[in-house]
């Protein structure tokens, strides 16, 4: 029994204690592959404890396509020539894009504070027909892991004859903390090795990838020097030790399967002897064995609806705290503002809560530091986001409180925590941005343009709309009006030149007025001959112009005939004849004319012109 303990302890002593220098190596499973095959790239890190190894990113490749971004991981402990070594492997599968050469470029691996660079690897992709036909691979997933334990290829033909050990003597059990969780909720899976008393193991190592598609995995610490617990299972006495403990977080919803945990070892089983005092037979030999835990199935359900805006996917139990290094500073100085989230959950993928300082502050990308506590039954720790802010203006500012919402599966609801706002006093004069942070136009890359010093061109703030502006209509209509008037005037002028009748007609009234005006003047002076001459010219001239006839060559009878034809009535013709006879008397026998006859003649002439104008206007 003591010997068995020593063997197991040697198998499980952590690499931390045995590390002899860190090695980072990249290798592929084959350097020549067919077009239909896949190639597995493995980055193996030896000599470093798990908690200082950061999951590396897959390297850049050419001619290959990555099948799954999340690497499968494997940790192994091996004893070779009496030296114990622990290593961690990250594996990615790639498919070739075509025939020819393909290449894995160097990968960068961070272990602790050191970044290691792997060698690049070239592979050749040939037509699938040039590749040997592969035998179907035996499925590694079996419903009963114990049934395959002693049918491993490692068990060669010469061992077939050996009596098969009882699978209940040695097995691994996988115990998840929960089988039905919400997305991103933590599930702890513990792998326990059970072995009967008398069973001895040597050269044991974890083998194959422990894959869990759709789950984020974090290793938890297990006892480095485990003391087997004695347990009774199905009435049998077993020793039990914890092989591995891992926290997994579903990254999507649905039914997710965690692969079996597999170990390869050589086991020495006690021969069932009838002699109760002979526990181990001298003929007993170590036989290669493979052990596999059952697969673990986890149902991941979506998060409940109604998440607040500040929810960024955190599931677990968290506390929020903030810290600032100072609250009074000069313009251009810097402030360190730390947001810390601590608790249990998937801290590795936790994003920074929304944080927007006042615009006067130049904000730099946060430095993120994560501290994971893997020692407990659940993954816990803290994650800090350290912001550096530089105020570019002075004044009193308020840093807004940070709001962080997470879903707490235990409580079954969303819980929000808020930090208090912080008042900051910035003194000194405002600064201009550094040239290094300026655009091609000289404007700051991540800030508004500086104030414009020149007021520039002033505009009316409430200008009248064009369609409501009278000047627009005036500018449009006035030229049209002028054009119209000009057109009418010009036409009138042309007609005056071309149409004598029209011209005389247009002149009739002005000429008559002119003569009557002269007659009125003469009326006052008492010159009878000139007066009657003007009156006669006014009447005859008007009638001649309106009728477009030469009035001077006409006899009185001809004139009256023309007037009759033009539609002048008999009474008016009679008055015209009387007036003309009076004018003749006044011109040739002025002594017979009284002064009141002059006035009658003037008034008669004026009324005749008005009435004749009216009568001729109707008839013409």
């Amino acid at each position: 029994m003591r010997k068995l303990f020593i063997i197991l302890l040697l198998l499980l002593i952590p690499a931390v204690l045995l590390a002899q220098g860190i090695t980072v190596v990249a290798h592929v499973d084959q350097t020549t592959i067919g077009t239909e095959e896949t190639v597995t790239l493995t980055i193996e890190i030896g000599g470093a404890p798990a908690n200082v190894i950061q999951t590396p990113s897959p390297p850049d490749v050419s001619g290959l396509s990555l099948l799954q971004a999340t690497p499968s991981t494997q940790s192994s402990v091996s004893i070779v020539n009496g030296v114990m070594a622990q290593s961690y492997s990250f594996r990615w599968a790639y498919r070739p894009l075509g025939e020819g050469s393909a290449r894995f470029n160097s990968a960068l691996v961070t272990v602790g504070e050191t970044v290691y660079k792997t060698e690049s690897i070239d592979i050749t992709v040939v037509p699938q027909s040039q590749r040997p036909v592969r035998m179907p691979r035996r499925s590694t997933r079996r419903l009963d892991p114990f049934s395959s334990l002693f049918r491993s290829p490692f068990d060669s033909a010469e061992l077939v004859d050996e009596p098969a050990p009882d699978p209940t003597d040695l097995f691994i059990r996988a115990i998840p903390s929960d089988r039905s969780v919400v997305q991103n909720e933590q599930v702890t899976i513990e792998y326990q090795l059970f072995f009967r008393e008398g069973v001895q193991l040597r050269q044991s190592r974890l083998t194959d990838s422990w894959d869990a598609e759709g789950l984020w995995r974090e290793e938890l610490d297990v006892e480095t020097r485990p003391i087997p617990q004695i347990v009774i299972e199905n009435g049998k006495r077993y020793n039990k030790i914890v092989l591995k403990r891992a926290a997994v977080f579903p990254t999507r919803t649905g039914t997710l399967v965690v692969d079996s945990l597999r170990i390869e070892s050589e086991a020495l089983f006690p021969v069932r002897s009838s002699n109760p005092f002979q526990l181990f037979s001298l003929r007993s030999t170590y036989k290669p064995v493979k052990l596999a835990s059952p697969e673990v199935t986890i149902d991941s359900t979506p998060l409940p609806a109604g998440a607040p805006d500040s929810f960024i996917g955190a599931v677990g139990s968290y506390r929020l705290s903030t810290q600032i290094d100072r609250t009074v500073l000069d313009v251009g100085g810097s402030i360190q503002f730390i947001i810390t989230i601590s608790g249990t959950g998937n801290l590795a993928t936790l994003e920074a809560p929304s944080f927007s300082p006042p615009a006067a502050f130049e904000l730099y990308e946060p430095q993120v530091s994560t501290h994971l506590d893997r020692s407990g039954a659940r993954l816990a720790g803290s994650k800090s986001f350290t912001y550096i802010m530089v105020p570019r203006a002075n004044g009193t500012f308020e840093l807004p409180g940070v709001e962080f919402t997470h879903y707490n599966p235990a409580a079954g609801d969303y819980q929000t925590e808020r930090s208090n706002p912080i008042e900051i006093l910035v003194t000194g004069a405002a600064t201009t941005p550094l040239a290094a942070t300026a655009t091609r136009n000289g404007l700051p890359v991540d800030d508004v343009a500086p104030p414009i010093e020149d007021a520039g061109h002033w505009v009316h703030l409430s200008p009248t709309s064009l369609h409501h502006s009278s000047w627009v209509y005036a500018a449009l209509l006035l030229p049209l009006l002028i054009l119209g008037v000009t057109f009418v005037y010009q036409r009138h002028q042309d007609r005056l030149v071309a149409d004598v009748g029209y011209a005389r007609k247009r002149r009739a009234n002005p000429l008559a007025k002119k003569h009557l005006k002269q007659a009125k003047f003469l009326l006052g002076s008492g010159t009878k001959v000139e007066f009657f001459g003007e009156v006669e010219r006014a009447v005859l001239g008007f009638l001649g112009n309106r009728l477009n006839i030469s009035e001077r060559g006409l006899t009185r009878a001809q004139l009256l005939g023309q007037l009759a034809r033009a539609g002048i009535d008999e009474a008016l013709r009679q008055r015209i004849q009387t007036l003309l006879e009076l004018c003749d008397r006044g011109r040739f026998v002025p002594g017979t004319i009284e002064m009141n006859d002059l006035e009658k003649a003037f008034e008669g002439a004026a009324s005749i012109i008005v009435e004749a104008d009216s009568a001729l206007g109707k008839s013409l």
Partner: protein, 264 residues
Amino acid sequence: MTQALLHTATARSRRVLVVLLFCLTSSASSLAQNVEPTRAFDEGTRFLNSGDFRSAIASFEYAESLGRGSSALFHNRAIAHFRLDEIGHSIRFLERAALISKDDPRVMHSLDIVSTRVVDTYSELPIPIWTRFQRVVLNIASERVLMVTGIGFYLILCLMLFMNILGYWSGAWRRPIRAVSGLVSVILISMALTSSIWPAYSKEAVVIVGEADLHNQPDSDANVSEYIHEGLVVGIVSEGDTWALVQLPNGARGWILTQQLGAI
């Protein structure tokens, strides 16, 4: 002195003098109107540079109350609001500055920076071809420039017709000039008038509160169809004393309290 000048001048030179005096008086009056806004602008900019953002805003507000504005005035006021974390007002005045000076890289840069602080993102409805064309044209020349240029061509056309009526300027060159000036004047005047009646940039406003409810009806108890946030630019469909019907960039419409909006 004016009377002495007028007295000594001949009739023709008197007329010239009157016109010159009118022009001088007009420009002097215009300059005098800009003095006080410029003084307030300079004062506000000094406050802004010294970090006294509230006083800067007060000065800029005073300059604006005088009925004058400039791209620089609105830009600087927007910066003051931005420094005070008033994103809605900042966007509002930057949009105003951009309306006056669309090509100023400082204004457009500041608008880009401040817009990154706006929470809401909506897809935008496509702009009708006519409006796009209208905006392209108006980016080259304003409505007034279009109208004045159009009237210039219109006067050329009228002059040609006038001379034609009077019988002057006979020659084969008159017809193409008349046709071109007529066509150009019709196009420019039509563009100016239609842009004045149906503006290329519809009336818009900015949400100036942290979060505003968009109701289905102009009633506080009506269903809330959307929550919109500070800095979002919305189109004003109709506006009353208390409620305004607004259109979001994606075409959705709803009622919002007018006090939660700042007109651009």
